[in-house]
């Protein structure tokens, strides 16, 4: 006798404008099991989760819950149907107590019409104790660690009687002990008959926790494996799936002298004793998991964030901490991760965006006008082939790829000797991606030192002269271009170093 799975997706698709985020996604979740969903960034996992959680509506395909076809129009619909989603960054109300966060929207009343705080407290205590993490029900949610916030979210989902619990990269920001605790909770929920979907990049977790593993790539279902019958290598092959080398036109360059030297950089609780060097003409990639601390290191190096100790030098000159303007004067450029918030003024035109970082050098006698800005803007927009017909088109009107070109133009215009690029191709179309790769490669060819952060393995392997793997705020491995393979980079990013042997000083 075959019962229908708890939750089943069949050929689900979803597009945003012309971009297809999901082409054909399949998933079958059984009650009383933990199902891993793995894939590279951009494979469509998050979109799939948002469709299940009622945040997005699917364009096509079948979605059934306990054998019945469902259509969610809001997060509330999904919640009522018994689906709970726990995001990487939980969404609690910081001013409410832990107990009230669990009961928000359905707080129990006493006979006198007051909130039954005793009952909330009692049930919260029971719930958190059952999960093995007794959190004080009366403390504010503000200041709880992300791990504890997740526990509160899980307690909430149990309390509302969720049948399906989805955890979207819950372990990305957790320490080892916290991860173990979370996995214990997940097993307990499974044993109670709930269905769990677990999204993670860490294979050790996936293999020790999950019963089945579904792999996605480019918005498409690839395969579902039974954990006991597969291997890490097989999964990595399914995820990567394509030949890496020929996509990236890597130029041969002569590596020159050290441009950026970072020594023993430490920010307590974020990263520790980070040392590395980037040389002229060299592309160095920071590989690692989301949340490993790669962007945080780069931001501290540039001076947007503070750090506690260590030093940063460009061409031998010390870069003062917490002062991006000074770093820029010494020749550093930074293409940030979030181009909409950190890289661009979305309401400003292409021209003002391109010239913002060079406003001082463009000015004459302390004054700057649109006419003084225009030649630079025109030059760099044209070099980068920004697709727009006017220089005052607002950045928000451009496609993602063109926005990224504007950000790159803005930083190339500063003529940097060391350019840091954080996830330079995230969320942009394939054609522009290739252009960005060619650009970075040629940039290195002219002698610029490039430090790239990327979560896409093929990009790392295709572009890097050297790969530095960051794990839990430390550089744990340094792999030369010739030795780098998807397997050994992925392995270093997901496993604690065996012992002291892999510790490196670049």
């Amino acid at each position: 006798m075959t019962e229908a799975p708890l939750l089943q997706l069949d050929g689900v698709s979803k597009s945003f404008g012309a971009v297809a985020a999901l082409v054909r996604a399949d998933l079958a979740l059984e009650a009383g099991s933990i199902h891993a969903l793995v894939g590279e960034n951009g494979a469509g996992k998050s979109t799939l989760v948002k469709i299940i959680g009622g945040l997005y509506q699917r364009d096509g395909g079948e979605f059934t819950l306990e054998g019945e076809s469902v259509d969610f129009h809001s997060t509330r619909d999904a919640k009522e149907a018994g689906i709970a989603v726990i995001y990487q960054e939980p969404t609690l109300f910081p001013d409410f107590t832990v107990a009230e966060n669990i009961f928000v929207g359905r707080q129990p009343y006493t006979k006198l019409g007051l909130l039954d705080r005793a009952k909330m407290r009692r049930e919260t205590r029971e719930l958190t104790q059952r999960l093995g993490v007794p959190i004080d029900p009366d403390r504010e949610a503000r200041g709880l660690s992300i791990a504890d916030q997740q526990v509160v979210e899980i307690a909430k989902s149990i309390s509302v009687g969720a049948k399906v619990i989805i955890m979207d990269e819950p372990t990305a920001a957790l320490s080892g002990v916290e991860v173990d605790r979370l996995m214990g909770i997940a097993r307990q929920l499974r044993d109670e008959g709930k269905g769990l979907i677990f999204i993670s990049h860490r294979f050790d977790e996936v293999f020790s926790l999950c019963d089945t593993i579904t792999v996605m790539r480019d918005g498409t279902y690839i395969a579902t494996n039974t954990t006991t019958e597969t291997t890490e290598d097989a999964i990595i092959r399914q995820m990567v799936g394509r030949s890496v080398e020929n996509l990236f036109p890597k130029q041969e360059t002569t590596v020159g002298e050290a441009v950026l030297e970072v020594t023993d950089l430490t920010s307590v609780g974020v990263f520790e004793n980070v040392s590395f060097t980037v040389r002229s003409g060299e592309i160095v990639c920071f590989a690692g998991l989301v949340g490993a601390g790669r962007s945080e290191i780069a931001r501290a190096v540039f001076g947007v964030d503070r750090y506690d100790s260590g030093s940063v030098r460009i061409g031998g000159k010390a870069v003062p901490p917490k002062n991006p303007a000074a770093a820029m004067r010494l020749g550093m450029g930074f293409v940030p991760e979030d181009r909409r918030k950190q890289g661009l003024a979305m309401d400003a035109g292409v021209q003002s965006n391109i010239t913002l970082a060079i406003r001082d050098s463009l000015s004459k006698f302390g004054f700057i006008t649109s006419s003084l800005e225009e030649p630079s803007a025109r030059t760099w927009a044209s070099r980068l082939q920004v697709k727009t017909h006017a220089l005052d088109t607002e950045a928000s009107m451009l496609s993602g790829g063109n926005q990224q070109k504007v950000v790159l133009g803005k930083w190339l215009a500063t003529q940097p000797s060391i350019l840091i690029v954080d996830e330079p191709t995230r969320g942009i179309d394939v054609g522009t991606k290739a252009e960005v790769h060619r650009l970075l490669s040629e940039l290195a060819g002219t002698g610029v030192a490039v430090l790239m952060i990327s979560s896409e393995l093929p990009e790392v392997l295709g572009m890097a002269d050297r790969v530095l793997v960051v794990r839990e705020g430390r550089i744990t491995a340094e792999i030369a271009r010739e030795q780098a393979t998807p397997e050994n980079v992925m392995y270093a990013a997901t496993h604690a170093p065996a012992d002291n042997s892999t510790e490196t000083a670049a």
Partner: protein, 342 residues
């Protein structure tokens, strides 16, 4: 992520006594008692005379009412600068009704005054909720517009006490067990509003919206509906404040309530409402209002010219937001340390 991470310990619950001692409300009660004690020591009639006692308890009632409404609006991450103008319109409308509608029942006038306030608050709420314009700008506009309507309508006239029925005037001086009836009525309002905000889901939703608007949206709360509710309540309470003003002073012109919006914001902030929304109790706000009102009557007795009253209000606003900030920072720092040290 960091190497020092381990599972943070469970926050040891503070004893109930510690909680009481740390609460803003307790601090305010101590301040109020101290202020009254010192002032009475200087001038015994401040407390120990019929007039002194009554003034002490009756004078804060208006500020308490409007501060409650302001607090609700601030809790939702908005601000209402128009309440002084709303109060003025309510005061004059009520006085005008008594004068021009023969034998109108007091209850009906009260209902009309409150309804007028609620209506003006509704206009604020609609503009804020549907235009997505900051409430600061909208209520700045309605502060002018409502005041302008008052000036246009009232002109140089003022309410004469002869317009008011004697029963209504008596309300201002009536006492029950030597406590002014007005204070009792206002305390009932405080209890109702406090009960609503601390113990009803609809009230908690207002806190939720101010505490984390993104999460509130994800949760499915209607920002529009909650914003409207907050502004209507604020307007209605300002309308009620107008009636209390009328019963205490038995007069009123086009300038009644000028600057009240700032005193209300001050009372809310001193009472522990965070200007960024999401936190603060109604009890704290009522005590904050009582404290500020008492300061202004105590200052002259203490030999400080009452002219300095506003400066002191200013010091308390700046001091209160600074204190909140310092407490907030030390609390997050402590939580962080606990997360990484152990």
């Amino acid at each position: 992520m960091s190497v020092t991470h381990t599972v943070p310990p469970i926050e040891a619950g503070r004893s109930p006594l510690q909680k009481v001692l740390r609460a803003r409300e307790f601090g305010l009660v101590v301040l109020i008692v101290a202020l009254i004690a010192v002032t009475t020591a200087v001038q015994p009639t401040f407390l120990f005379s019929d007039g002194g006692w009554r003034e002490l308890l009756r004078q804060p009632t208006i500020l308490i009412l409007i501060a409650l409404g302001e607090a609700i609006v601030i809790i939702t991450r908005n601000i209402d600068l128009s309440i002084g103008s709303i109060l003025c319109l309510s005061t004059y409308t009520s006085g005008w009704l008594f004068a021009n509608v023969e034998g109108i029942p007091i209850v009906l006038v009260v209902v009309i005054g409150v309804a007028l306030g609620a209506f003006l608050g509704l206009i604020n709420g609609l503009l804020v909720a549907f235009l997505k314009v900051p409430s600061l700008v909208i209520t700045l506009g309605t502060l002018y517009a409502y005041r302008g309507i008052a000036i246009l309508w009232i002109g140089p006239q003022f309410i004469r006490s002869s317009w008011l029925p004697p029963e209504f005037r008596a309300l201002g001086t009536m006492q029950w067990a030597s406590i002014p009836v007005l204070l009792i009525l206002v305390l009932i309002v405080v209890l109702i509003v406090g009960w609503f905000m601390t113990s009803r889901r609809a009230g908690r939703d207002l806190y939720a919206l101010g505490s984390n608007p993104e999460a509130a949206k994800l949760f499915g709360l209607s920002e529009r509906r909650l914003t409207l509710n907050a502004f209507v309540t604020s307007g209605a309470l300002a309308g009620l404040g107008g009636l209390v003003y009328l019963s205490i002073y038995a007069t009123g012109d086009a300038r009644v309530g000028t600057g009240y919006e700032l005193e209300a914001v001050a009372a809310a902030v001193v009472g522990g409402v965070a200007i960024v929304g999401g936190s603060g109790t109604i009890w704290g706000v009522a005590l904050g209002a009582f404290f500020l009102a008492t300061i202004s009557s105590a200052l002259p007795v203490l030999g400080v010219p009452s002219l300095w009253q506003q400066a002191i209000v200013g010091i308390f606003i700046v001091g209160a937001i600074l204190l909140d900030r310092v407490l907030f920072l030390s609390r997050t720092r402590r939580a962080k340390r606990k997360g990484s040290e152990s």
